[in-house]
């Protein structure tokens, strides 16, 4: 008996599970099991509390209701696609028939005007956030580099950045809407006005974190590297291309990840507010609709928004690890 106690206290029994397994496998299991456990506990809590909440639109949606809506929303999308195909088929047949009767007839083609499905809205939102983000990067990175390199430029522009940085892009939304309607006039527009408005809103909110991070990254350039460049008498453009840009890649990516996260949140709100196509409009439409399944459809949208935000962040992290020389970037 004393033997058993001492065995136990020295941990001979205690660690059996971990010592028998190679550390790599045990680490893998830990990385897999712990998050699954977290999700499970959350789902149970959610399911339990959802059943306790009654709203005027029925019970608060639990996991089951959401799962049901995922299937429904996908089926609706499929049905809508089939309808669209059928519509174009009919149109083609009709036109072919008219041409057969009268060869001088110029066929009219109309585009399908069905309601956007949930899947369409996801596509629209993703498209908007990515294009707005890329536009912001095209403006912000060169601007940030210029500000980082020149103290005078920094002193001149810094007050403007500091004032505009804390402004929610949603405050810009009415102004952007009016300006776009006034300036973007074309009989055959390449992009919808609503898309342009959302895009500019996203660009506005991505701009500041990217400019700030890039300029700070450039300004805190290691003085040894600048000295190397000076000894070599690198021309300004070569200096930027070979030294400044690679050296600030980690800082640039920090800004990009930060702004992409903000952009995704702001875009959904902007779509709700401006009734621009996208996931935000889907949520708002469902809320206005007020059917018994509305809440569970909104809950589904909430989860999808979260998942996409998570995927966007991970993709940026992967891109950063692929492009950046600084491999010490934490996966967090």
């Amino acid at each position: 008996m004393p033997n058993l106690v001492s065995d136990f206290t020295t941990g001979r029994y205690d660690v059996g599970f971990q010592t028998k397994m190679p550390p790599a496998i045990s680490a893998f299991l830990r990385a897999l099991i712990l998050p699954m456990l977290g999700v499970l506990v959350f789902t149970l809590l959610w399911s339990f509390s959802a059943s306790k909440i009654d709203t005027s639109l029925g019970k608060f949606p639990g996991p089951g209701a959401v799962a049901e809506q995922v299937v429904n929303l996908y089926n609706e999308h499929q049905a809508s696609r089939e309808k669209e195909l059928a519509f174009y088929e009919r149109q083609e047949q009709r036109n072919a028939a008219r041409i057969a009767k009268d060869p001088t007839y110029i066929p009219k083609t109309r585009t399908f005007t069905g309601k956007e499905t949930f899947v369409d809205q996801i596509g629209t939102s993703l498209m908007t956030v990515l294009s707005g983000f890329i536009l912001a990067a095209i403006i912000a990175i060169p601007l940030g580099i210029a500000i980082g390199l020149s103290k005078s430029l920094n002193t001149a522009i810094n007050p403007i950045i500091q004032i505009f940085k804390p402004v929610s892009p949603l405050a810009w939304l009415p102004l952007v809407t009016m300006v776009v309607s006034a300036l973007y006039v074309s009989s055959d527009p390449m992009f919808a006005k609503s898309y342009i408005v959302s895009l500019i809103t996203v660009t506005l909110c991505c701009l500041w974190p990217m400019v700030m991070n890039t300029s700070v990254g450039v300004a805190s350039l290691n003085s040894d590297w600048t000295n190397v460049s000076r000894v070599l008498r690198l021309p300004t453009l070569t200096h930027i291309r070979k030294i400044v840009l690679p050296a600030s890649v980690p800082a640039i990516f920090t800004g990009m990840r930060l702004s992409l996260g903000i952009a995704w949140m702001v875009l959904i709100a902007a779509e709700m507010l401006a009734q621009n196509p996208g996931l935000g409009k889907f949520v708002w439409d469902e809320f206005q609709n007020g059917s018994s399944s509305s809440l569970s459809r909104i809950m589904t949208a909430v989860l999808v928004i979260g998942l996409i935000g998570f995927m966007l962040d991970r993709s940026m992290l992967l891109l950063q690890r692929w492009l950046s020389w600084d491999k010490s970037t934490q996966v967090r």
């Binding site: 000295n227 190397v228 000894v231 070599l232 008498r233 890649v249």
Partner: protein, 281 residues
Amino acid sequence: MEPLLNISKIDMVFPTPKGDFTALKDVDLQIQKGEFISLIGHSGCGKSTVLNVVAGLYNPTQGGVLLNDREVLEPGPERAVVFQNHSLLPWLTAYQNVELAVDQVFAKNKSPAEKKEWIEYNLKLVHMDHAMHKRPDEISGGMKQRVGIARALAMQPEVLLMDEPFGALDALTRAHMQDSLMEIQEELNNTVIMITHDVDEAVLLSDRIVMMTNGPAATVGEILHVDLPRPRERLALAADPQYNHYRSEVLTFLYEKQRKVEPISTKTKDSAIKTDVKSTA
């Protein structure tokens, strides 16, 4: 003989919020082609400032530096610098780090094949040909410093400036690097100015040791000619009376004539703390 490099009566004054700080006063030194010069002195005596003035990274307040009778006004590859912390670009491999210098310096004079050969030749010279395509974070401190030297040598400088090149290395690696440097010197016979803290290093490598007085207003204290035959052998020299004489000369200068007087430094530290308190209050 006309000196290759003429450091002519330079003063260096840095403006600070508390008034001007005179780092160097009347530093005067002439260096012949092919000479190996060590600058030795206590920390803070302005050795690095002298080197930075020669490199062109600082402009002196008074006096000037002439290289081949032409005044040094800005940094340039003919005065290549080996920095203390290697200062390799971490996103480039050893080869690419040297390539950056070669592409810039020999943009017009060498064909791509010649450039490649020249880069490889220089990396071989510092015994880094086996790890050419590794990045700085994949190689040891001594290897990084070797690449730094290869990059400087690849610029084919008229004067090679080394700022405590082996200061950050452990004693064994340092000894190894000193041997490598002597071997390279034998082959290339460069003109070198090297800053060091290490008395043995200075005696072993130099033709002349320039000993600097303590700052502020530091200047050249004594110059010691080291008349030991080359090639020099570390082990054989350890018992050589001439070598030990040179060594004790430098030690005497550093620890008797220019001993750092501690009370002054603690006093200045105290006053610095006091002013700090004032500024934060």
